[in-house]
Symmetry: C2
Subunit: 246 residues, 2 copies
């Protein structure tokens, strides 16, 4: 039987026509204040490709799986290497493996995470030092044409996020520990892409038992607004037994 | 740059030490009547391995991803080849990629499906014709030690099934189009692994709006029981935009 040999991952990219290779990519959602609308906007970081295929197009942060590295570790490593970001957890989203998604055969295991605005506000670190413009935050609702099938991947991640926000405390991943009902509503609005009636929203979350009022208030240019926190006794997530914590 | 060569999938299994290979496996849940308890039991098909690694142990149906084949197609093909089963849909469950899960590096994309008892009652077809005992149904609650990390994979699939049954019509995948409330309750009981109070269960499903009563009744040794069907107007699944239909 023939023993197989393969060039290092960094150079094999366009030569391995007869082998299926495994890559990891990550979709990191965060919120950025949009001064035009005075409301938060859902954003994600992208990296501009500096070589074929799709040279010059923006793509999700990611890279090749190393032979001695778990999928989770590869997702964290490649995200840190390309953007400098280190979310507190990454969750596996889906494996994309259409035969025509790349010029060579690549199966991409995609991870996703939410990053609170304070953690996302740290400068993105571009490890391709001669081209500091090669990593940037984009509005999730108006992306350019991305490399590979990455537009489809972002659409799927958005669908999962919208689906999950209804039955879990996932919005909390985009908020500080304490928040006003208006801030929580704006997170939901940015994820769902539509306005919610403030009175209905207040009634629904107050009846859900998932929020606890605090004795503190947000003061500023508006009327003081009570701060809430999530009720940790209510288990709303479904991250399950494979949950990853770093 | 070196052009890579690789032996055919069927023989490369134990030689490809320096390359990550992609496999697919499937977890197919169905129900089988347990005469001892006079109740349905959750079962799944397993295939006995006829070569190393783990020769002689039972494993999930599966095989290698072909270079020109999508992940979904590979899951359907390998399931049919090893068991003869062809569920109406397969859903991607999770990608398992721990570095120590196999003697060589293998990333397994795992699919799952539910099969109604009438579809599962067809004889399993063993394609290794000289060893017809090499594929069989097992009680999901009392599996032997399986090959690779397949016990962990089944545990994860069971967790997802139990998690999903609460907020979707997923139990319907194990039932005929019309069913009694007792039959529906027994499906929930077999999935959740515990008894449910019949009166509470009846009240909850009747209040949920997800079931519609029919004019028909199940007759037999017991008091006639009304047949119900799922209300197709209520969208309860979360299979999403990547839903696969064959």
């Amino acid at each position: 039987m023939t023993r197989t040999t393969i060039a290092p991952a960094e150079t094999a990219e366009n030569t391995a026509d007869d082998v299926t290779r495994v890559a990891v990519s990550t979709v990191i959602f965060s919120l950025r204040h949009d001064p035009d609308r005075d409301a938060p906007t859902l954003v994600l970081p992208l990296v501009r490709r500096t070589r074929d295929p799709y040279e010059g197009l923006w793509a999700l942060p990611g890279g090749w799986l190393d032979i001695a590295e778990s999928l989770d570790a590869a997702a964290s490593r490649t995200l840190a290497e390309t953007t400098g970001l280190a979310p507190s957890y990454l969750e596996q989203l889906y494996a994309f493996g259409a035969t025509d998604r790349s010029p060579t055969r690549v199966v991409s295991i995609v991870y996703w995470a939410l990053l609170r605005p304070d953690a996302a506000s740290t400068q993105l670190i571009d490890r391709t030092k001669d081209a500091p413009e090669n990593v940037a935050w984009f509005d999730a609702a108006s992306l350019p044409r991305l490399a590979f099938d990455h537009n489809e991947i972002v659409d799927y991640a958005l669908w999962r996020l919208r689906n999950k926000v209804g039955y879990s405390r996932i919005a909390h991943g985009l908020l500080a520990d304490e928040f006003t009902l208006a801030e929580l509503r704006e997170v939901y609005e940015s994820i769902l892409g539509r306005r919610l009636d403030p009175a209905n929203f207040r009634r629904q979350v107050e009846n859900s038992g998932t929020l606890l009022p605090t004795d503190r208030f947000r003061t500023g240019s508006h009327r003081p607004a009570r701060l809430y926190r999530y009720n940790q006794d209510v288990e709303l997530t479904d991250r399950g037994p494979l949950e990853i914590r770093h």
